[in-house]
Symmetry: C2
């Protein structure tokens, strides 16, 4: 018996990355494919103590239904952190969500009618594109470069497409690892305010800066129009599914109603446990540990790429986050590299999946947070061999040699 599925689901493929991750699970494969934080840095013992403490001290409250907005002490903590970054947050402007992916979905649900346009950077975070697609909108992508979204193209794009939302990941963007330059943030904010276009500022990686100085968040520059997303996924652990949305108050009320219909509220127990953790745990010292380790891993990757990649290969130099973006030498395609790399027991993500519009097969996304320095050196050496072999084969082909 055939069941008709809704039109919104028909344009929505499974995330290509998640499909690739299945291949990358082979035990001999060193994977640089996932966007996974380093599990050895999860504060597991402290989380265990926090769960134990709230279940001992206030089991009734920690296990009962809670309000949709989220546990007030957690919202107050988030608001404090956001205010320290210049964002005019209050506990009432913050809603706790089940990971910042849910923040993307809820913002889209609240703002986007079918047929509306969302402006994004090209390439962009896949699961955000997926979330937007579910609302039957048009996604229009503007190019980015090593300074992030090309904001000089924004005003013309707004005039042409009348977007209902601009989606940006200003810090260490997925997949390119690029940071939106300070002057571009100001330009983005000014243009958005001039045209009254809401901005969705997705900031999963902001706390992971290991180089350079932080820039002002867009939410501090265009507060009346900006929805700002954060998460504990990269700083405590993704398996908690705990994030937040801060945004303009009247719309946050609507977003709360939207969340109520989606899942009533985010897990009370997790919220209580994380609040308990944050009372005793030195969160900032913990962030320093993560940053120092990710810096080492990123540098190991950059260093090894220097030694192992064939001429013509280029890559980004991220200031933080989880990813590095590699441009293949002319003549190589991301998909052939992916398959050949798996044969060499190393997994990467073909860049094409992150692009909106015409295929672009010249890029790979490399994750440096989820492998040790040793494995990074080993894995990049394998990737280098893969590229050299493919180039040798293709030049042999070009010369007609079998």
């Amino acid at each position: 018996m055939t069941i008709h599925t809704a039109r919104r689901m028909q344009g929505m493929p499974a995330s290509a990355v998640r499909e690739i991750l299945k291949v990358a699970e082979r035990p001999d494969v060193l994977s640089f494919a996932g966007g996974l934080p380093a599990p050895e840095l999860f504060p597991a013992r402290e989380l265990g103590q926090a769960f134990e403490a709230v279940l001992r001290k206030s089991p009734g409250a920690a296990l009962q239904y809670g309000i949709t907005e989220g546990f007030l002490p957690l919202r107050a903590w988030v608001a404090d952190r956001l205010r320290a970054r210049g964002i005019a947050a209050t506990p009432e402007s913050v809603v706790v969500v089940s990971g910042s992916q849910q923040g993307i979905d809820l913002t889209a649900r609240v703002l986007l009618d079918p047929g509306a346009t969302v402006l994004v950077e090209n390439p962009s975070y896949l699961a955000a594109l997926q979330a937007f697609t579910a609302y039957e909108v048009d996604v229009v992508a503007l190019p980015g470069d090593s300074d992030g979204l090309r904001t000089d193209l924004l005003e013309d794009a707004i005039r042409e497409h009348q977007p209902a939302l601009i989606y940006v990941v200003p810090e260490f963007q997925n997949p390119r690892g690029a940071t939106l330059a300070s002057h571009r943030r100001h330009e983005l904010a000014a243009v958005a305010l001039r045209h009254g276009v809401p901005v969705l500022e997705d900031d999963p990686y902001g706390a992971l800066r290991f180089r350079g100085t932080p820039s002002t968040p867009v939410a501090a520059l265009a507060g009346d129009l900006t929805f700002h997303l954060g998460t504990f996924s990269k700083t405590l652990a993704p398996g908690l599914r705990l994030g937040w949305v801060h945004g303009p108050r009247p719309v946050m009320r609507t977003l709360t109603i939207a969340k109520q219909a989606c899942d009533l509220h985010t897990a009370t127990l997790t919220q209580h446990a994380v609040v308990e953790l944050l009372r005793s745990f030195d969160y900032d010292a913990h962030l320093e540990v993560i940053r120092a380790e990710y810096r080492l891993r990123c540098e190991a990757m950059l260093r090894t790429l220097e030694h192992t990649m064939p001429p013509g290969t280029r890559w980004s130099t991220p200031d933080g986050g989880l990813f590095l973006w590699l441009e293949l030498p002319p003549g190589l395609r991301d998909d052939e590299v992916f398959h050949a790399a798996i044969e060499h027991s190393v997994a990467v993500v073909p860049g094409n999946g992150f692009f909106v519009g015409p295929p672009q097969h010249g890029f790979l996304r490399l994750n440096f947070s989820n492998q040790s320095v040793e494995n990074i050196e080993l894995g990049m050496a394998r990737l280098g061999r893969t590229l050299h072999e493919l180039l040798a084969r293709s030049s042999a082909d070009a010369m007609g040699i079998q």
Copy 2:
């Protein structure tokens, strides 16, 4: 600066019950308004041990990203329980969700185009109506009685409205507490299969039967078309936000993609901890304890209502679940009773909010799971006095006495 919100949000008020719950929070008020399980029955100590154990034994896996479908051992456990009830479930037919409310939302997202029709029972679960409304569908309500949805009206309604989904809560329905009679389940399944209309069987309370014998779930009678929702919210604790959807395999694949866009996956840690709990914990013995206690509370409520309610008041006799449905004596309105009851320090939910279509002000929903027998006796006595006073006042008004 005004932000335009999507059309889907404009017909969607906050849940009336959740607004009422805020009033009911006054410390002197005995509340029978929420749909809250008894917190003293939450297995807090055992959950604490389970969280501690997984964070000690497998912190990396328990805190990392997980697959969207959910943790396989949990899906296997769910499938086993469903098979014991005659449902052809396998781990692959089950997706773990963040509470069964998310199951409603995801099923709606996958099946309902804007303008589609959903058939529901009248009155019905509010937050389901809220979830459907977000997809801009028409909700058509068929009457129910003490045997649940009037399935004899179903075939005509299907012919007239061509629904894309039939939503039912066959066990101890919220708000009426009624159970869908066995012959009606067969009729529902036969009619749904004849017309190829999917059924969403929401079963949050099925494990809470304290009287009578269980009937076959609709998912066991119309498996090719039925999405079956379950949850740990009423058996372990709602603050975990852990539920499941079982349904026809091809659509479960689509539902998984929909969930990926919504929140990537349900909390890995919670799934691992509950699997750990279920390995050592006697879940069925725990259900027996809950059922026995809820039976006592329900009986205390029924007994006290007999003694305290004015003539002309009627109420349902539930076989399980959390709720009892009270029909006010002629001349009394649910909203005036609600306000007068708050003055007597007792909170109930006016029934009107659960109805689709014309207002119906003759009913109250009473929750019996969240108060002790003693408080139930006290609270129902207060409610009885409230009704007696209102009736005396209205008959005095009728006689022109001030």
